[in-house]
Protein backbone atom coordinates (compact mmCIF):
# COMPACT_ATOMS: atom_id res chain seq x y z
CA UNK A 1 0.00 0.00 0.00
CA UNK A 2 1.72 3.17 -1.16
CA UNK A 3 0.76 6.44 0.47
CA UNK A 4 1.51 9.89 -0.88
CA UNK A 5 2.16 12.97 1.27
CA UNK A 6 -1.36 14.05 0.37
CA UNK A 7 -2.82 10.79 1.68
CA UNK A 8 -0.99 11.23 4.97
CA UNK A 9 -2.20 14.82 5.22
CA UNK A 10 -5.73 13.70 4.51
CA UNK A 11 -5.51 11.01 7.21
CA UNK A 12 -4.12 13.56 9.69
CA UNK A 13 -6.90 15.97 8.80
CA UNK A 14 -9.56 13.34 9.35
CA UNK A 15 -8.05 12.31 12.68
CA UNK A 16 -7.70 15.98 13.64
CA UNK A 17 -11.36 16.68 12.96
CA UNK A 18 -12.55 13.50 14.64
CA UNK A 19 -13.07 12.69 18.29
CA UNK A 20 -10.35 10.04 18.06
CA UNK A 21 -7.40 10.37 20.41
CA UNK A 22 -5.48 7.61 18.71
CA UNK A 23 -5.59 5.71 15.44
CA UNK A 24 -3.80 2.50 14.62
CA UNK A 25 -3.98 0.87 11.20
CA UNK A 26 -2.22 -2.45 10.66
CA UNK A 27 -2.45 -4.17 7.31
CA UNK A 28 0.00 -6.30 5.42
CA UNK A 29 3.13 -4.31 4.69
CA UNK A 30 1.76 -1.15 6.23
CA UNK A 31 1.17 0.13 9.71
CA UNK A 32 0.28 3.60 10.88
CA UNK A 33 0.01 4.86 14.42
CA UNK A 34 -1.33 8.39 14.98
CA UNK A 35 -1.56 9.90 18.46
CA UNK A 36 -3.36 13.21 18.89
CA UNK A 37 -2.03 15.94 21.12
CA UNK A 38 1.65 15.32 20.46
CA UNK A 39 2.34 13.62 23.78
CA UNK A 40 2.99 9.97 24.20
CA UNK A 41 0.16 9.10 26.54
CA UNK A 42 0.00 5.52 25.35
CA UNK A 43 3.71 5.18 24.77
CA UNK A 44 6.44 4.09 27.14
CA UNK A 45 7.18 6.84 29.66
CA UNK A 46 10.84 7.42 30.41
CA UNK A 47 11.82 7.66 34.07
CA UNK A 48 11.89 11.16 35.51
CA UNK A 49 15.07 13.16 35.77
CA UNK A 50 15.48 15.98 38.30
CA UNK A 51 11.95 17.20 37.67
CA UNK A 52 9.65 15.06 35.64
CA UNK A 53 7.72 16.67 32.86
CA UNK A 54 4.18 15.50 32.33
CA UNK A 55 4.63 13.44 29.20
CA UNK A 56 7.90 13.53 27.30
CA UNK A 57 7.12 12.47 23.76
CA UNK A 58 8.81 9.55 22.10
CA UNK A 59 11.87 10.81 20.25
CA UNK A 60 11.33 10.63 16.52
CA UNK A 61 13.77 8.05 15.23
CA UNK A 62 14.91 8.66 11.71
CA UNK A 63 14.69 5.87 9.15
CA UNK A 64 17.87 3.81 8.80
CA UNK A 65 20.60 5.34 6.68
CA UNK A 66 22.29 3.35 3.95
CA UNK A 67 24.82 1.88 6.38
CA UNK A 68 22.01 0.81 8.68
CA UNK A 69 22.62 3.55 11.24
CA UNK A 70 19.72 5.47 12.75
CA UNK A 71 19.67 8.76 14.62
CA UNK A 72 18.00 9.64 17.87
CA UNK A 73 16.33 12.97 17.20
CA UNK A 74 15.28 15.68 19.64
CA UNK A 75 11.58 15.23 20.50
CA UNK A 76 11.39 18.87 21.55
CA UNK A 77 13.30 22.12 21.28
CA UNK A 78 15.44 22.89 24.29
CA UNK A 79 18.90 22.90 25.79
CA UNK A 80 20.73 19.61 25.27
CA UNK A 81 22.56 18.13 28.25
CA UNK A 82 24.60 14.96 28.03
CA UNK A 83 24.76 14.44 31.79
CA UNK A 84 22.42 14.52 34.76
CA UNK A 85 24.26 17.54 36.20
CA UNK A 86 27.45 19.51 35.58
CA UNK A 87 30.48 17.36 36.36
CA UNK A 88 28.54 14.09 36.25
CA UNK A 89 29.54 11.49 33.65
CA UNK A 90 27.55 11.61 30.39
CA UNK A 91 24.54 9.34 30.12
CA UNK A 92 26.11 7.67 27.09
CA UNK A 93 29.42 7.79 25.23
CA UNK A 94 30.23 6.36 21.79
CA UNK A 95 30.40 2.60 22.18
CA UNK A 96 27.62 2.47 24.76
CA UNK A 97 24.91 -0.15 24.42
CA UNK A 98 21.42 1.32 24.57
CA UNK A 99 17.97 -0.18 24.89
CA UNK A 100 14.78 1.70 23.91
CA UNK A 101 14.31 2.89 27.50
CA UNK A 102 17.94 3.87 28.14
CA UNK A 103 18.14 7.58 28.99
CA UNK A 104 20.61 9.18 26.59
CA UNK A 105 20.32 12.88 27.45
CA UNK A 106 18.26 15.63 29.03
CA UNK A 107 16.54 18.40 27.12
CA UNK A 108 15.72 21.40 29.27
CA UNK A 109 12.73 23.60 28.49
CA UNK A 110 12.30 26.44 30.96
CA UNK A 111 13.91 24.56 33.90
CA UNK A 112 11.88 21.46 33.07
CA UNK A 113 14.34 18.59 32.67
CA UNK A 114 13.04 16.10 30.12
CA UNK A 115 14.81 12.73 30.13
CA UNK A 116 15.12 11.43 26.61
CA UNK A 117 15.11 7.66 26.01
CA UNK A 118 16.99 6.11 23.10
CA UNK A 119 13.87 4.58 21.59
CA UNK A 120 16.01 2.00 19.83
CA UNK A 121 18.32 -0.91 20.67
CA UNK A 122 21.91 -0.65 19.50
CA UNK A 123 25.34 0.85 19.95
CA UNK A 124 25.91 4.59 20.07
CA UNK A 125 28.46 5.51 17.40
CA UNK A 126 28.42 9.31 17.42
CA UNK A 127 27.24 12.24 19.50
CA UNK A 128 25.85 14.78 17.05
CA UNK A 129 24.96 17.76 19.29
CA UNK A 130 27.09 19.90 21.57
CA UNK A 131 26.46 19.80 25.31
CA UNK A 132 24.48 22.86 26.56
CA UNK A 133 23.55 23.94 23.03
CA UNK A 134 20.05 24.74 21.88
CA UNK A 135 18.69 21.86 19.83
CA UNK A 136 15.67 22.20 17.57
CA UNK A 137 12.75 19.84 17.41
CA UNK A 138 13.87 16.96 15.21
CA UNK A 139 17.59 17.74 15.44
CA UNK A 140 19.75 14.55 15.33
CA UNK A 141 21.38 14.00 18.74
CA UNK A 142 23.06 10.59 18.48
CA UNK A 143 23.85 8.10 15.76
CA UNK A 144 23.12 4.51 16.68
CA UNK A 145 23.96 1.24 14.98
CA UNK A 146 20.84 -0.79 15.67
CA UNK A 147 20.86 -4.40 16.76
Amino acid sequence: MALSDDDIREILRIVDESELAELRIDTEGFSLHVLKGGSGGALAQPPAATRPSSAPPEPPTAPPQSNGAVTIDAPMLGTFYRAQEPGAPPFVEPGADVEPDTIVCIIEVMKMMNSIPAGVSGVVTDVLAENADLVEYGAPLFRVKPR
Binding site: R13, V109, M110, L134, Y137
Partner: protein, 440 residues
Protein backbone atom coordinates in the same frame (compact mmCIF):
# COMPACT_ATOMS: atom_id res chain seq x y z
CA UNK B 1 16.88 45.61 21.05
CA UNK B 2 19.08 43.77 18.58
CA UNK B 3 17.47 40.47 17.68
CA UNK B 4 13.78 39.63 17.52
CA UNK B 5 12.27 36.17 17.90
CA UNK B 6 9.16 35.56 15.76
CA UNK B 7 7.19 32.49 16.92
CA UNK B 8 4.73 32.62 14.05
CA UNK B 9 4.21 31.61 10.45
CA UNK B 10 2.51 32.61 7.24
CA UNK B 11 2.25 36.11 5.88
CA UNK B 12 2.53 37.83 9.27
CA UNK B 13 5.88 36.21 10.02
CA UNK B 14 7.11 37.41 6.62
CA UNK B 15 5.72 40.86 7.43
CA UNK B 16 7.57 41.02 10.78
CA UNK B 17 10.82 39.84 9.19
CA UNK B 18 10.42 42.73 6.73
CA UNK B 19 9.88 45.27 9.52
CA UNK B 20 12.98 43.97 11.36
CA UNK B 21 15.03 44.44 8.18
CA UNK B 22 13.65 47.96 7.83
CA UNK B 23 14.84 48.80 11.36
CA UNK B 24 18.19 47.01 11.06
CA UNK B 25 17.19 44.34 13.58
CA UNK B 26 18.19 40.71 13.27
CA UNK B 27 15.40 38.18 13.44
CA UNK B 28 14.94 34.51 14.21
CA UNK B 29 11.77 32.73 13.12
CA UNK B 30 10.53 29.96 15.40
CA UNK B 31 8.47 27.63 13.23
CA UNK B 32 6.94 24.19 13.34
CA UNK B 33 8.62 21.46 11.34
CA UNK B 34 6.02 21.65 8.56
CA UNK B 35 6.88 25.35 8.15
CA UNK B 36 10.66 24.92 8.10
CA UNK B 37 10.79 25.60 4.35
CA UNK B 38 8.31 28.46 4.59
CA UNK B 39 9.09 31.91 3.25
CA UNK B 40 9.49 33.50 6.70
CA UNK B 41 11.94 30.81 7.82
CA UNK B 42 13.96 31.30 4.65
CA UNK B 43 13.98 35.10 4.79
CA UNK B 44 14.92 35.36 8.47
CA UNK B 45 18.53 35.47 9.64
CA UNK B 46 17.90 32.13 11.28
CA UNK B 47 15.02 29.73 11.79
CA UNK B 48 14.61 27.15 14.53
CA UNK B 49 12.05 24.38 14.58
CA UNK B 50 10.11 24.72 17.84
CA UNK B 51 7.98 21.59 17.49
CA UNK B 52 5.85 19.44 15.23
CA UNK B 53 2.98 20.64 13.04
CA UNK B 54 0.07 20.78 15.48
CA UNK B 55 0.07 24.25 17.04
CA UNK B 56 -0.49 22.83 20.52
CA UNK B 57 2.99 21.30 20.30
CA UNK B 58 4.74 24.26 18.67
CA UNK B 59 3.23 27.74 18.24
CA UNK B 60 1.19 27.46 21.45
CA UNK B 61 4.10 26.40 23.69
CA UNK B 62 5.07 29.52 25.61
CA UNK B 63 7.79 27.61 27.50
CA UNK B 64 9.45 26.34 24.33
CA UNK B 65 9.15 29.75 22.67
CA UNK B 66 10.90 31.62 25.47
CA UNK B 67 13.54 28.88 25.66
CA UNK B 68 14.11 29.21 21.92
CA UNK B 69 14.32 33.01 22.15
CA UNK B 70 16.90 32.76 24.95
CA UNK B 71 18.81 29.99 23.19
CA UNK B 72 19.12 32.08 20.02
CA UNK B 73 20.06 35.18 22.05
CA UNK B 74 17.04 37.19 21.04
CA UNK B 75 16.15 40.12 23.27
CA UNK B 76 12.58 40.55 22.06
CA UNK B 77 9.62 38.41 20.97
CA UNK B 78 7.14 39.66 18.38
CA UNK B 79 4.21 37.24 18.56
CA UNK B 80 2.36 38.38 15.43
CA UNK B 81 -1.36 37.62 15.53
CA UNK B 82 -3.19 34.44 16.52
CA UNK B 83 -1.46 31.70 18.53
CA UNK B 84 -0.07 33.23 21.76
CA UNK B 85 -0.20 36.86 20.63
CA UNK B 86 -2.78 37.77 23.27
CA UNK B 87 -1.75 35.26 25.89
CA UNK B 88 -0.56 36.91 29.12
CA UNK B 89 1.46 33.80 29.98
CA UNK B 90 3.86 34.33 27.09
CA UNK B 91 4.14 38.05 27.87
CA UNK B 92 4.77 37.34 31.56
CA UNK B 93 7.24 34.53 30.91
CA UNK B 94 9.18 36.67 28.45
CA UNK B 95 9.33 39.53 30.95
CA UNK B 96 10.45 37.13 33.70
CA UNK B 97 13.45 36.17 31.57
CA UNK B 98 14.33 39.70 30.57
CA UNK B 99 13.00 39.35 27.03
CA UNK B 100 10.96 42.27 25.69
CA UNK B 101 7.46 41.25 24.62
CA UNK B 102 6.26 43.32 21.67
CA UNK B 103 2.79 44.13 22.90
CA UNK B 104 1.05 45.47 25.96
CA UNK B 105 2.08 44.35 29.47
CA UNK B 106 0.68 41.03 30.74
CA UNK B 107 -1.65 42.86 33.17
CA UNK B 108 -3.33 44.78 30.35
CA UNK B 109 -3.69 41.56 28.35
CA UNK B 110 -5.35 39.86 31.30
CA UNK B 111 -7.79 42.74 31.64
CA UNK B 112 -8.56 42.81 27.91
CA UNK B 113 -8.91 39.02 27.85
CA UNK B 114 -11.59 39.14 30.54
CA UNK B 115 -14.44 40.51 28.44
CA UNK B 116 -16.57 41.24 31.50
CA UNK B 117 -13.87 43.27 33.21
CA UNK B 118 -13.11 45.06 29.95
CA UNK B 119 -16.80 45.99 29.65
CA UNK B 120 -16.77 47.35 33.19
CA UNK B 121 -13.65 49.41 32.49
CA UNK B 122 -15.17 50.81 29.30
CA UNK B 123 -18.36 51.70 31.14
CA UNK B 124 -16.38 53.36 33.94
CA UNK B 125 -14.40 55.36 31.37
CA UNK B 126 -17.64 56.66 29.84
CA UNK B 127 -17.36 54.54 26.70
CA UNK B 128 -20.78 53.22 25.66
CA UNK B 129 -21.33 49.49 26.24
CA UNK B 130 -24.33 47.40 25.19
CA UNK B 131 -26.85 46.72 27.93
CA UNK B 132 -25.71 43.43 29.45
CA UNK B 133 -24.23 41.63 32.43
CA UNK B 134 -22.93 38.31 33.70
CA UNK B 135 -25.63 35.68 33.91
CA UNK B 136 -26.06 32.39 35.77
CA UNK B 137 -29.81 31.75 35.31
CA UNK B 138 -32.17 32.61 32.46
CA UNK B 139 -34.47 34.66 34.74
CA UNK B 140 -31.71 37.23 35.15
CA UNK B 141 -32.10 38.38 31.54
CA UNK B 142 -35.44 40.14 31.87
CA UNK B 143 -33.82 43.60 32.04
CA UNK B 144 -32.04 43.19 28.68
CA UNK B 145 -34.85 42.08 26.39
CA UNK B 146 -34.75 39.68 23.44
CA UNK B 147 -33.10 38.74 21.18
CA UNK B 148 -29.80 38.78 23.04
CA UNK B 149 -26.33 37.35 22.64
CA UNK B 150 -24.64 34.96 25.04
CA UNK B 151 -20.88 35.47 25.15
CA UNK B 152 -18.04 33.86 27.08
CA UNK B 153 -16.15 36.09 29.53
CA UNK B 154 -12.93 34.38 28.47
CA UNK B 155 -13.84 34.35 24.77
CA UNK B 156 -13.51 37.12 22.23
CA UNK B 157 -12.84 37.25 18.54
CA UNK B 158 -16.38 36.09 17.89
CA UNK B 159 -15.78 32.62 19.29
CA UNK B 160 -18.59 30.86 21.15
CA UNK B 161 -21.26 33.51 20.65
CA UNK B 162 -24.87 32.30 20.77
CA UNK B 163 -28.09 34.08 19.87
CA UNK B 164 -31.16 33.57 22.04
CA UNK B 165 -34.53 34.71 20.69
CA UNK B 166 -36.50 34.32 23.90
CA UNK B 167 -36.23 33.10 27.46
CA UNK B 168 -36.92 29.47 26.53
CA UNK B 169 -34.03 29.54 24.07
CA UNK B 170 -31.80 31.25 26.59
CA UNK B 171 -32.62 28.59 29.17
CA UNK B 172 -31.83 25.86 26.63
CA UNK B 173 -28.54 27.44 25.55
CA UNK B 174 -27.20 28.71 28.86
CA UNK B 175 -25.80 25.52 30.35
CA UNK B 176 -24.35 24.53 26.96
CA UNK B 177 -22.72 27.95 26.64
CA UNK B 178 -21.24 27.64 30.12
CA UNK B 179 -19.79 24.19 29.58
CA UNK B 180 -18.44 25.14 26.14
CA UNK B 181 -16.85 28.26 27.58
CA UNK B 182 -15.30 26.23 30.38
CA UNK B 183 -13.87 23.72 27.93
CA UNK B 184 -12.67 26.25 25.37
CA UNK B 185 -11.39 29.06 27.59
CA UNK B 186 -10.97 27.51 31.03
CA UNK B 187 -13.52 30.01 32.36
CA UNK B 188 -17.21 29.11 32.40
CA UNK B 189 -18.51 32.61 33.12
CA UNK B 190 -20.86 33.85 30.43
CA UNK B 191 -22.62 37.16 29.96
CA UNK B 192 -25.48 38.47 27.90
CA UNK B 193 -25.64 41.53 25.69
CA UNK B 194 -28.42 43.16 23.72
CA UNK B 195 -28.36 41.99 20.12
CA UNK B 196 -28.31 44.57 17.35
CA UNK B 197 -29.67 42.99 14.20
CA UNK B 198 -28.32 45.47 11.66
CA UNK B 199 -24.84 46.31 12.84
CA UNK B 200 -21.52 47.38 11.44
CA UNK B 201 -18.21 46.29 12.89
CA UNK B 202 -15.99 49.31 13.29
CA UNK B 203 -12.63 49.19 15.06
CA UNK B 204 -10.14 51.89 15.94
CA UNK B 205 -6.39 51.43 15.67
CA UNK B 206 -4.61 52.91 18.65
CA UNK B 207 -0.95 53.42 19.44
CA UNK B 208 0.43 54.15 22.90
CA UNK B 209 4.07 54.56 23.90
CA UNK B 210 5.72 54.04 27.29
CA UNK B 211 5.78 57.78 27.91
CA UNK B 212 2.09 58.58 28.11
CA UNK B 213 1.26 59.37 24.49
CA UNK B 214 -1.88 57.71 23.14
CA UNK B 215 -3.15 58.36 19.62
CA UNK B 216 -5.53 56.75 17.16
CA UNK B 217 -4.69 55.89 13.56
CA UNK B 218 -8.23 56.03 12.26
CA UNK B 219 -10.83 53.30 12.08
CA UNK B 220 -11.55 50.25 9.97
CA UNK B 221 -14.87 48.78 8.93
CA UNK B 222 -14.87 44.97 8.99
CA UNK B 223 -18.56 44.26 8.45
CA UNK B 224 -18.05 41.72 5.67
CA UNK B 225 -17.84 38.66 7.91
CA UNK B 226 -18.73 35.04 7.87
CA UNK B 227 -19.39 33.47 11.24
CA UNK B 228 -17.71 36.45 12.90
CA UNK B 229 -14.57 35.95 10.78
CA UNK B 230 -13.58 38.94 8.68
CA UNK B 231 -13.32 38.62 4.92
CA UNK B 232 -13.03 42.21 3.64
CA UNK B 233 -11.85 45.22 5.66
CA UNK B 234 -11.44 48.87 4.84
CA UNK B 235 -10.30 52.22 6.12
CA UNK B 236 -11.79 54.72 6.63
CA UNK B 237 -15.16 53.23 7.59
CA UNK B 238 -17.58 54.26 4.84
CA UNK B 239 -20.82 56.08 5.54
CA UNK B 240 -20.16 57.16 9.12
CA UNK B 241 -21.36 60.64 9.99
CA UNK B 242 -18.39 62.92 10.78
CA UNK B 243 -19.55 63.35 14.38
CA UNK B 244 -19.79 59.58 14.89
CA UNK B 245 -16.35 59.06 13.38
CA UNK B 246 -14.81 61.58 15.74
CA UNK B 247 -16.68 60.23 18.76
CA UNK B 248 -15.71 56.61 18.11
CA UNK B 249 -12.04 57.50 17.63
CA UNK B 250 -12.04 59.57 20.82
CA UNK B 251 -13.76 56.78 22.75
CA UNK B 252 -11.02 54.33 21.76
CA UNK B 253 -8.28 56.71 22.92
CA UNK B 254 -10.14 57.37 26.18
CA UNK B 255 -10.41 53.65 26.91
CA UNK B 256 -6.77 52.99 25.98
CA UNK B 257 -5.70 55.68 28.42
CA UNK B 258 -8.03 54.40 31.14
CA UNK B 259 -6.61 50.87 31.07
CA UNK B 260 -2.97 51.92 30.74
CA UNK B 261 -2.67 50.47 27.26
CA UNK B 262 0.81 50.22 25.73
CA UNK B 263 1.97 49.51 22.17
CA UNK B 264 -0.45 49.01 19.26
CA UNK B 265 -3.95 47.76 19.84
CA UNK B 266 -7.44 47.82 18.46
CA UNK B 267 -10.66 48.82 20.17
CA UNK B 268 -13.62 47.12 18.52
CA UNK B 269 -17.09 48.61 18.42
CA UNK B 270 -20.45 47.57 17.10
CA UNK B 271 -22.32 50.37 15.34
CA UNK B 272 -26.10 50.28 15.05
CA UNK B 273 -26.59 50.78 11.30
CA UNK B 274 -29.93 52.51 11.82
CA UNK B 275 -29.17 54.89 14.68
CA UNK B 276 -25.34 55.12 14.36
CA UNK B 277 -25.09 54.54 18.11
CA UNK B 278 -21.83 52.74 18.85
CA UNK B 279 -20.96 50.33 21.64
CA UNK B 280 -17.68 48.88 22.92
CA UNK B 281 -17.04 45.23 22.02
CA UNK B 282 -13.49 44.36 23.03
CA UNK B 283 -9.84 45.37 22.99
CA UNK B 284 -7.44 43.38 20.82
CA UNK B 285 -3.89 43.38 22.17
CA UNK B 286 -2.15 42.39 18.95
CA UNK B 287 -1.37 43.56 15.45
CA UNK B 288 -4.50 42.83 13.43
CA UNK B 289 -4.62 40.84 10.21
CA UNK B 290 -6.18 43.92 8.59
CA UNK B 291 -3.51 46.42 9.72
CA UNK B 292 -2.34 47.10 6.14
CA UNK B 293 -5.43 49.17 5.31
CA UNK B 294 -4.45 51.53 8.12
CA UNK B 295 -0.87 51.54 6.84
CA UNK B 296 -2.09 52.38 3.34
CA UNK B 297 -4.09 55.45 4.39
CA UNK B 298 -1.69 56.73 7.09
CA UNK B 299 1.59 55.87 5.36
CA UNK B 300 2.89 54.42 8.66
CA UNK B 301 4.60 51.07 9.18
CA UNK B 302 2.62 49.66 12.10
CA UNK B 303 4.86 46.67 12.77
CA UNK B 304 7.94 48.89 12.88
CA UNK B 305 6.00 51.20 15.20
CA UNK B 306 5.29 48.22 17.50
CA UNK B 307 8.97 47.35 17.65
CA UNK B 308 10.04 50.94 18.33
CA UNK B 309 7.47 51.38 21.09
CA UNK B 310 8.55 48.08 22.67
CA UNK B 311 12.10 49.37 22.63
CA UNK B 312 10.94 52.33 24.71
CA UNK B 313 11.08 54.95 21.98
CA UNK B 314 8.57 57.79 21.91
CA UNK B 315 5.75 57.59 19.38
CA UNK B 316 7.29 60.47 17.48
CA UNK B 317 4.00 61.45 15.91
CA UNK B 318 1.29 63.62 17.42
CA UNK B 319 -2.40 63.09 16.76
CA UNK B 320 -2.66 66.17 14.55
CA UNK B 321 0.25 64.89 12.46
CA UNK B 322 -1.57 61.68 11.51
CA UNK B 323 -2.83 62.29 7.99
CA UNK B 324 -5.32 60.09 6.18
CA UNK B 325 -4.87 59.68 2.46
CA UNK B 326 -7.57 58.13 0.29
CA UNK B 327 -9.27 54.82 0.91
CA UNK B 328 -7.89 51.31 1.34
CA UNK B 329 -9.63 47.92 1.19
CA UNK B 330 -8.17 44.54 2.08
CA UNK B 331 -9.54 41.20 1.03
CA UNK B 332 -8.38 37.88 2.40
CA UNK B 333 -7.61 35.21 -0.16
CA UNK B 334 -8.07 31.90 1.63
CA UNK B 335 -7.71 28.21 0.82
CA UNK B 336 -11.38 27.43 1.30
CA UNK B 337 -13.96 25.61 -0.75
CA UNK B 338 -16.79 28.14 -0.70
CA UNK B 339 -19.19 25.75 -2.45
CA UNK B 340 -18.74 23.17 0.31
CA UNK B 341 -19.37 25.14 3.45
CA UNK B 342 -16.03 26.99 3.30
CA UNK B 343 -14.19 23.76 3.98
CA UNK B 344 -10.43 24.40 4.34
CA UNK B 345 -8.51 22.97 1.40
CA UNK B 346 -4.95 22.13 2.41
CA UNK B 347 -2.64 20.93 -0.33
CA UNK B 348 0.27 21.94 -2.51
CA UNK B 349 0.11 25.08 -4.62
CA UNK B 350 0.97 23.93 -8.11
CA UNK B 351 0.43 27.49 -9.29
CA UNK B 352 0.34 30.72 -7.33
CA UNK B 353 0.46 33.98 -9.24
CA UNK B 354 -0.74 37.41 -8.16
CA UNK B 355 0.31 40.11 -10.62
CA UNK B 356 1.96 43.29 -9.39
CA UNK B 357 -0.23 46.32 -10.00
CA UNK B 358 0.13 49.88 -8.87
CA UNK B 359 -2.21 50.69 -6.02
CA UNK B 360 -2.32 47.10 -4.79
CA UNK B 361 -0.15 45.65 -2.05
CA UNK B 362 0.09 41.89 -1.62
CA UNK B 363 1.13 40.33 1.70
CA UNK B 364 1.72 36.64 1.29
CA UNK B 365 3.97 33.73 2.21
CA UNK B 366 2.79 31.63 -0.72
CA UNK B 367 4.57 30.70 -3.93
CA UNK B 368 4.31 27.90 -6.47
CA UNK B 369 5.24 24.64 -4.76
CA UNK B 370 4.39 25.90 -1.29
CA UNK B 371 2.38 23.57 0.91
CA UNK B 372 -0.76 24.73 2.71
CA UNK B 373 -0.62 22.56 5.84
CA UNK B 374 -3.82 21.29 7.44
CA UNK B 375 -2.91 22.56 10.91
CA UNK B 376 -3.39 26.31 10.65
CA UNK B 377 -5.71 28.97 9.30
CA UNK B 378 -6.38 29.04 5.60
CA UNK B 379 -5.10 32.54 4.76
CA UNK B 380 -3.06 32.51 1.55
CA UNK B 381 -2.65 36.21 0.87
CA UNK B 382 -3.98 39.64 1.70
CA UNK B 383 -4.64 41.96 -1.20
CA UNK B 384 -4.79 45.62 -0.25
CA UNK B 385 -6.13 48.09 -2.76
CA UNK B 386 -5.47 51.80 -2.17
CA UNK B 387 -7.00 54.58 -4.18
CA UNK B 388 -7.94 58.23 -3.91
CA UNK B 389 -11.46 57.11 -3.05
CA UNK B 390 -13.41 53.94 -2.24
CA UNK B 391 -14.36 53.19 -5.85
CA UNK B 392 -10.72 53.49 -6.86
CA UNK B 393 -9.70 50.95 -4.21
CA UNK B 394 -12.45 48.56 -5.31
CA UNK B 395 -11.45 48.85 -8.98
CA UNK B 396 -7.79 48.25 -8.19
CA UNK B 397 -8.65 45.07 -6.28
CA UNK B 398 -11.06 43.75 -8.90
CA UNK B 399 -8.44 44.37 -11.56
CA UNK B 400 -5.91 42.19 -9.72
CA UNK B 401 -8.38 39.53 -8.58
CA UNK B 402 -9.29 38.90 -12.22
CA UNK B 403 -5.72 37.79 -12.81
CA UNK B 404 -5.06 35.90 -9.60
CA UNK B 405 -4.12 32.39 -10.60
CA UNK B 406 -4.00 29.70 -7.94
CA UNK B 407 -4.02 26.00 -8.67
CA UNK B 408 -3.67 23.03 -6.38
CA UNK B 409 -6.12 24.22 -3.75
CA UNK B 410 -9.60 25.71 -3.94
CA UNK B 411 -9.72 29.39 -3.03
CA UNK B 412 -12.38 31.99 -2.27
CA UNK B 413 -11.25 34.23 -5.16
CA UNK B 414 -14.60 34.16 -6.94
CA UNK B 415 -16.41 35.07 -3.72
CA UNK B 416 -14.14 38.08 -3.20
CA UNK B 417 -14.89 39.26 -6.75
CA UNK B 418 -18.62 38.86 -6.08
CA UNK B 419 -18.43 40.80 -2.81
CA UNK B 420 -16.43 43.70 -4.24
CA UNK B 421 -18.73 43.94 -7.25
CA UNK B 422 -21.98 43.62 -5.32
CA UNK B 423 -24.28 46.68 -5.38
CA UNK B 424 -24.73 46.51 -1.58
CA UNK B 425 -20.99 46.61 -1.04
CA UNK B 426 -20.62 49.38 -3.61
CA UNK B 427 -23.24 51.42 -1.74
CA UNK B 428 -21.54 50.61 1.60
CA UNK B 429 -24.77 49.43 3.16
CA UNK B 430 -23.27 46.16 4.32
CA UNK B 431 -23.90 44.95 7.87
CA UNK B 432 -22.27 42.03 9.71
CA UNK B 433 -24.99 39.56 8.72
CA UNK B 434 -24.89 40.55 5.05
CA UNK B 435 -22.32 38.10 3.62
CA UNK B 436 -24.09 35.04 4.95
CA UNK B 437 -27.47 36.31 3.71
CA UNK B 438 -26.32 37.51 0.30
CA UNK B 439 -24.26 34.41 -0.51
CA UNK B 440 -26.25 31.75 1.33
Amino acid sequence: MKRVFIPNRGEIAVRIVGACRELGLECVVGCSDVDRDGLAAREADRAVVIGPGPASSSYLRDDVIVQAALGTRCDAIHPGYGFLSENPRLAARAAEHGVTFVGPPAGVMMLAGDKLRAREQADAAGVPVLPGHEIAAAEEASDIGYPLLIKAAGGGGGRGIKLAGDEAELRALLSLARSEAGAAFGDDRVYIERFIAAARHVEVQIAADEHGSVIHLGERDCSVQRRYQKVVEESPAPSLAPATRTAIRDAAVTLARAIGYRNLGTVEFIVDAASEEFFFLEVNCRIQVEHPVTEAVTGLDLVALQLRIAEGQVLGIAQHEVAFDGHAIECRLTAEDVAHGFRPTPGTLSLFAIPERSGVRVDTHCHPGAVVPPYYDSLLAKLIGHGPDRDGAIEALLDVLEDVDVEGVETNRALLVSVLGHPDFRRATVTTDWLERAFA
